[in-house]
C-alpha cells in the first residue's frame, strides 16, 4: 500500500523521529501466549520503519479478540462492529486518500459475518492492508466453530466436531477477480510476519494477509505441531516473493513459487498445507480509490455546477 503523496503529506513534520514506543498504546489485554501480541509488535515495527505519522494512520477493526487491536496502538483507530471493518476502511480511504489504512479482522469477522465485504473489498482493491488473524475459532465468544475450524475439531456449538470442511481463505481470495496481493504468515514466525507486513504495506492495492494465529485458550492443539517442528512448514521462496533469511534458515522446506503466476498461486493455495509466503502479487490491478478519485473543488466551483443544474431545471 503506497500513500499518495500530496503536498500536505510531504510537509508532515519531517524532523520528528518515531520510535516503536511512540506507537504503543495501553498494555494489550490478550491472554498470555496469544498470537495477537506478536502481530501487534510487528505492526509497531512496521509503523516505525516507515515513520508513519500516528495521526495519519488509521487501524480499523470489527469485533472479536483480534479486533481489540486498534486500542493498543497510538494511531487513530476505529473499533467497529462485527464483520464490518472493510466497509469502514473503504469509506476512510475513499474520503481521505492521504491516510494509511489497515483493517484487522478475526476469522469469524472476515470469513463468516463479513464474507460479502471481504469478497467485494478484494474486487475494489482499495489501497490498504487487510490482516486476517486466523485462530480457527471464535475466541471472544468462547469457542464456537468458525468457517476455518478444521473438520472434526470440537467446539461449544459443534461438540462432536466441526461438521463442514473448513473454508480456505487463500483460495477464496485468489478466486476473486482483481485480487492483487495474497500472502500467508504465522504469528510464531515474527521475522516472516514482519517481512510480510512490510511487503503488504508497500503494495499498491488491497493487500490481504492471512496470519495463522495461536489461541492457547481454545485451539492450543491446532498449530502445535507446526510450531514445534519447523519441518512441518513450507516457505515460499522467489526473487519476487517475500524474503526473510531467518525464516528460511529455520524452515528448511522451501518451495519455489513465482507470485506473479495466478494459476500456480491458486493451485498452491488449494493444496492446503502449512505454507508461508507470498502467493500472489500484481501491483498493476486497478484500485477503486484511484479510479474514483475526482478533482477537488472550491465552493465557487460547486455553485457554478449547481447553477448549471438549476438552469437545466429552470421554468
Amino acid at each position: 500500500m503506497t500513500a499518495t503523496c500530496t503536498l500536505t503529506d510531504c510537509g508532515a513534520a519531517p524532523d520528528v523521529e518515531y520510535s516503536m514506543d511512540d506507537y504503543a498504546g495501553p498494555v494489550a489485554r490478550w491472554c498470555p501466549g496469544c498470537g495477537d501480541h506478536s502481530v501487534l509488535s510487528a505492526a509497531q515495527r512496521l509503523l516505525a520503519t516507515h515513520q508513519m505519522a500516528p495521526e495519519k494512520t488509521v487501524f480499523v477493526s470489527g469485533i472479536g479478540c483480534s479486533s481489540r487491536f486498534p486500542h493498543y496502538l497510538r494511531t487513530y483507530g476505529f473499533h467497529g462492529i462485527h464483520g464490518r471493518a472493510l466497509p469502514i476502511s473503504t469509506g476512510v480511504k475513499l474520503a481521505r486518500p492521504d491516510l494509511d489504512v489497515f483493517a484487522v479482522m478475526g476469522d469469524g469477522d472476515c470469513c463468516s459475518i463479513g464474507a460479502a465485504h471481504w469478497i467485494h473489498a478484494v474486487r475494489y482493491n482499495v489501497n490498504m492492508v487487510a490482516l486476517l488473524l486466523d485462530n480457527n475459532i471464535y475466541g471472544l465468544t468462547k469457542k464456537q466453530t468458525s468457517p476455518t475450524t478444521p473438520q472434526g475439531f470440537p467446539s461449544n456449538t459443534q461438540p462432536r466436531g466441526s461438521i463442514l470442511p473448513p473454508m480456505n481463505p487463500l483460495s477464496v481470495t485468489l478466486g476473486v477477480t482483481n485480487a492483487s496481493f495474497v500472502a500467508q504468515t504465522a504469528d510464531w514466525a515474527p521475522q516472516h510476519l514482519y517481512a510480510t507486513l512490510d511487503a503488504a504495506y508497500r503494495h499498491r492495492g488491497f493487500a490481504f494477509v492471512r496470519i495463522l494465529q495461536r489461541c492457547p485458550i481454545w485451539t492450543a492443539s491446532l498449530f502445535r505441531d507446526a510450531v514445534q517442528d519447523p519441518a512441518k512448514v513450507e516457505v515460499l521462496v522467489h526473487e519476487k516473493g517475500i524474503h526473510d533469511a531467518t525464516t528460511e534458515a529455520i524452515h528448511t522446506n522451501h518451495l519455489d513459487h513465482d507470485p506473479s503466476d495466478l494459476n500456480a498461486a491458486r493451485a498452491l493455495a488449494e493444496e492446503g498445507g502449512m505454507r508461508l509466503g507470498l502467493f500472489f502479487h500484481d501491483p498493476t490491478n486497478a484500485c477503486y480509490d484511484e479510479t474514483r478519485r475526482v478533482p477537488g473543488y472550491t465552493p465557487e466551483d460547486r455553485i457554478a455546477i449547481l447553477k448549471r443544474e438549476l438552469d437545466r431545471h429552470a421554468v
Binding site: 466497509p87 474520503a95 465485504h117
Partner: protein, 641 residues
C-alpha cells in the same frame, strides 16, 4: 347486451366548429399506457411545459408493479397524473377529469381504482374496437360495458393509424402524438413543447428528436381538427425565477449544495433515482456515488468517510434501512455525524416497492437496540427536499449525531415548480479540521449541560484515539464502571433537547384555535391543507399543523393542542379502525405520529390513516376531518352519539 350510457364516440362525428372552451382554475389529467409505451415521458413533458408556462403543477407517476407486465392488462397500467392550476398545486387532487388511454385495459385499471371523475372525458386509442382478433374485440366490449356504469364521455382517437404515417412501430411514438393532443387541448406553447421533446431525447440521435417532433405536430393537428373542446387553466406568470423537478432530483442537488462528497448507497426503489441523478453530475462537482455491495456496506462506507472528516450520506428505503440498523446504532453510540435519507415505501418486508407510505417513522426513532437518540426531519414539499440536506449536514456536524431525512415515494416522483434557490457557499461543509488538537482536549469532551463536544478527525496531530461502539468514557476508553454508561447515554440524549431549544413551535395553517386541529408530516401536507381549506370554506373551525422535526419534536405542541377541542393526525400508515372486531380504545394500534404525540404530550389524539398504495386524496381527508368535526360538535351540544 345493454347499450352503454357512455358509448364511445368516434371523434369524426363531433363538430369541432362548435368548440367549447372550459375555463377552470385547475384541471386534472392522466395519461396511461402499457408499460413501455412512454406515457410517463409524455406526461412529464406536458407537466414540465405547463409549469414553464406559469401553471401550478403536481405530477404523480402511475407505476406498474412489475417490470414487464403483460401488455393490455390492468396490471400493465403505467403513466402519469398531472394536476394543473392557476395557483400552486400541492398534491395530486381527487379525480382525473381528462384521461388519455392507450388501450381499454389500462383505462379499466384506473376506473377500478376510482381514479376518474364520474363525468371524465376519455380519449382512447380506437384500434382495439375494430381489431381483427376476436378476443381483443370481446375484451374491448366487456370493458365498455363495465365503464358504462359511469357517465364518462369516451372519444375514440385513431392514434395507431395516424402514427403509422410517420413511424413503423407506433408503440414507440404514440406518446409524443398524445403530447400533441394535450398541447392542443390545453393551448400549450409549441416552441416550449418542442424544446421539451429535445430535452427528453437529448441522449438520442437528432433524427429521433425530429421524428418525435413530427408525431407531436400530428397529435396537435388531429386534436384541432377533431376535438370539440379545449381546457383553459389560466396562468399567472411567476414573479420569481422558478425551477421544476421531482423530490429525488431535489435531494441530489441538496447533497451538492450541502458540500457533501460521497453518496454511498445500494439500489432500492424508490430511493435509487437520487443516486441516478447524482451519478450523472456529482463528479463534476467533486463528489462520487459509491454503489456498495449491500446496504450494510453502504452505511459502513459512509460512516468511515464521516469518521475521516467528510460527512457522507446514504440513501435507502425500508428494507435497506432495516439492514443498516446495527451500523446506525454504532454511529449514534460513537457520535459520528451521518445523514441517512429514507425514501419511504409501503412495508413491511418488500411490501409495496413503488408506492407511498409513511411507515418508517417509529422504525427510525426506535429501530436500534439500546438507546440511540437521533434527529429526524421530514421535508413536506419538493422545495424542502432541495434544502433539507443542507440543514441535515449542519445538524449532524454541530451535534455529532445521525440525522434521518424521511421522504417518500410521493415526494420522490412528484414534480412541482418552486422558486429557484440561490446557492450559497455557506451551505457547504468546509474542509476537515487538520489543526493539532488543543493540549488536554479529549475525544468526547462532553459539555455537562449540553452534551456537545468537538470531534477529532484523523490527520489532527495529538488527537489519536480509538473510536469504539463499546461503552466509553471521555477519552474513548472502554469502561464498564457504574455510571459510565449512564453518563454517555445522558450526554447523547441531551443534545437532542438542546437542538429542540433552538426550534420554533409549528405554525398552523388556518386559525391558531378552533374545533379540530389536523396534524401531519411529510408529503401529505398539501393534501391536508387543501382538505382543511375546503372545511373552512364550509364554515368549520378547522386548522392543520405540519411537523418538520419528528425528533426532537417541535416545541409548544401541548399548548397548541390545548387550543383545539380535538386533535387528529392524518398519515399514510396503518392504524386499526375504531369499530373493527376486537379493537378497543386500549388495544387500538394508532398511526405512528399519533402514537408518538400521545406519548409525548398525554393528549388524547385521534388518527385517520390509510395505506392505499397511493397518495391520500383531499376529498377523503376532508371526509375524515368532517366526521371528526361532527363528533366534536355533537359532544359539545350534549347530543347522544
Amino acid at each position: 347486451m345493454t347499450t352503454p350510457t357512455s358509448a364511445p364516440v368516434a371523434a369524426g362525428v363531433l363538430a369541432p366548429e362548435s368548440t367549447q372552451v372550459l375555463h377552470v382554475r385547475e384541471h386534472c389529467v392522466e395519461v396511461v399506457s402499457d408499460s413501455g409505451e412512454g406515457a410517463q415521458k409524455c406526461g412529464q413533458s406536458f407537466g414540465a411545459v405547463s409549469a414553464k408556462m406559469g401553471n401550478g403543477v403536481w405530477t404523480v407517476e402511475i407505476i406498474p408493479a412489475e417490470i414487464q407486465p403483460p401488455a393490455r392488462t390492468p396490471a400493465s397500467a403505467s403513466g402519469v397524473r398531472i394536476r394543473l392550476g392557476t395557483q400552486a398545486i400541492t398534491n395530486w387532487g381527487d379525480h382525473a377529469e381528462l384521461v388519455v388511454a392507450f388501450n381499454e385495459q389500462v383505462l379499466l385499471s384506473r376506473h377500478r381504482q376510482e381514479a376518474l371523475a364520474d363525468d371524465a372525458v376519455i380519449l382512447i386509442e380506437s384500434m382495439w374496437a375494430e381489431h381483427d382478433n376476436d378476443s381483443i374485440r370481446a375484451a374491448w366490449n366487456a370493458a365498455m360495458e363495465e365503464l358504462s356504469a359511469r357517465n364518462y364521455r369516451i372519444i375514440l382517437v385513431p392514434m395507431e393509424e395516424r402514427c403509422l404515417t410517420v413511424v413503423d412501430d407506433p408503440r414507440r411514438g404514440k406518446n409524443m402524438f398524445v403530447f400533441g393532443l394535450l398541447a392542443a387541448i390545453y393551448g400549450r406553447d409549441t416552441e416550449r413543447c418542442k424544446a421539451q421533446i429535445a430535452y427528453a431525447f437529448r441522449k438520442k440521435k437528432p433524427e429521433i428528436y425530429e421524428r418525435n417532433a413530427e408525431l407531436f405536430d400530428l397529435g396537435c393537428a388531429w386534436a384541432r381538427e377533431n376535438l370539440p373542446f379545449r381546457v383553459e387553466v389560466a396562468t399567472e406568470p411567476y414573479t420569481d425565477d422558478m425551477v421544476v423537478m421531482n423530490g429525488n432530483t431535489a435531494l441530489g442537488m441538496s447533497a451538492i449544495a450541502a458540500g457533501m462528497d460521497l453518496c454511498s448507497m445500494y439500489p432500492i426503489t424508490p430511493a435509487t433515482s437520487v443516486s441516478h441523478y447524482l451519478s450523472e453530475v456529482f463528479e463534476d462537482a467533486g463528489g462520487i456515488v459509491h454503489q456498495a455491495e449491500d446496504e450494510i456496506a453502504a452505511v459502513g462506507v459512509a460512516i468511515g468517510a464521516s469518521f475521516a472528516g467528510k460527512v457522507a450520506f446514504t440513501v435507502t428505503s425500508g428494507p435497506g434501512l432495516a439492514l443498516k440498523t446495527e451500523f446506525l446504532g454504532l454511529a449514534a453510540m460513537t457520535e459520528v455525524p451521518l445523514v441517512v435519507v429514507d425514501v419511504q415505501r409501503g412495508g413491511p418486508s418488500t411490501g409495496l416497492p413503488t408506492k407511498v407510505e409513511q411507515s418508517d417513522l417509529l422504525a427510525v426513532l426506535y429501530g436500534q437496540p439500546g438507546d440511540a437518540p437521533k434527529v429526524v426531519i421530514a421535508p413536506s414539499t419538493i422545495e424542502e427536499c432541495f434544502h433539507v440536506l443542507i440543514t441535515a449536514r449542519r445538524i449532524a456536524e454541530a451535534f455529532r449525531c445521525v440525522v434521518y431525512v424521511l421522504t417518500d415515494a410521493n415526494l420522490a416522483t412528484g414534480v412541482q415548480p418552486f422558486p429557484r434557490p440561490k446557492p450559497d457557499s455557506n451551505w457547504m461543509a468546509g474542509p476537515p479540521d487538520q489543526d493539532p488538537v488543543p493540549e488536554g482536549a479529549r475525544p468526547y469532551d462532553w459539555d455537562d449541560r449540553t452534551g456537545l463536544s468537538r470531534r477529532f478527525i484523523p490527520g489532527q496531530a495529538g488527537g489519536m484515539y480509538t473510536l469504539t461502539g463499546l461503552v466509553h468514557d471521555e477519552d474513548s476508553k472502554v469502561r464498564y464502571a457504574t455510571g459510565v454508561n449512564q453518563r454517555g447515554c445522558d450526554m447523547r440524549s441531551r443534545k437532542i433537547a438542546v437542538l429542540q431549544s433552538t426550534l420554533q413551535p409549528p405554525k398552523t395553517h388556518g386559525e391558531s384555535h378552533g374545533d379540530v386541529l389536523v396534524v401531519g408530516w411529510g408529503s401529505t401536507r398539501g393534501t391536508i391543507e387543501e382538505a382543511v381549506d375546503r372545511l373552512v370554506s364550509e364554515g368549520h373551525a378547522v386548522s392543520s399543523a405540519n411537523l418538520t422535526f419528528l425528533s426532537p419534536l417541535e416545541p409548544g405542541l401541548k399548548d397548541l393542542f390545548a387550543r383545539f377541542r380535538s386533535v387528529m393526525t392524518v398519515e399514510v400508515n396503518f392504524s386499526d379502525e375504531k369499530d373493527a372486531p376486537y379493537i378497543t380504545d386500549e388495544n387500538r394500534r394508532r398511526g405512528q405520529l399519533c402514537t408518538l404525540l400521545r406519548a409525548q404530550t398525554l393528549v388524547d389524539i385521534d388518527c385517520w390513516t390509510r395505506v392505499p398504495g397511493q397518495p391520500l386524496r383531499p376529498a377523503d381527508v376532508a371526509d375524515a376531518i368532517r366526521a371528526n368535526v361532527r363528533s366534536v360538535t355533537a359532544d359539545a351540544n350534549g347530543d347522544p352519539s
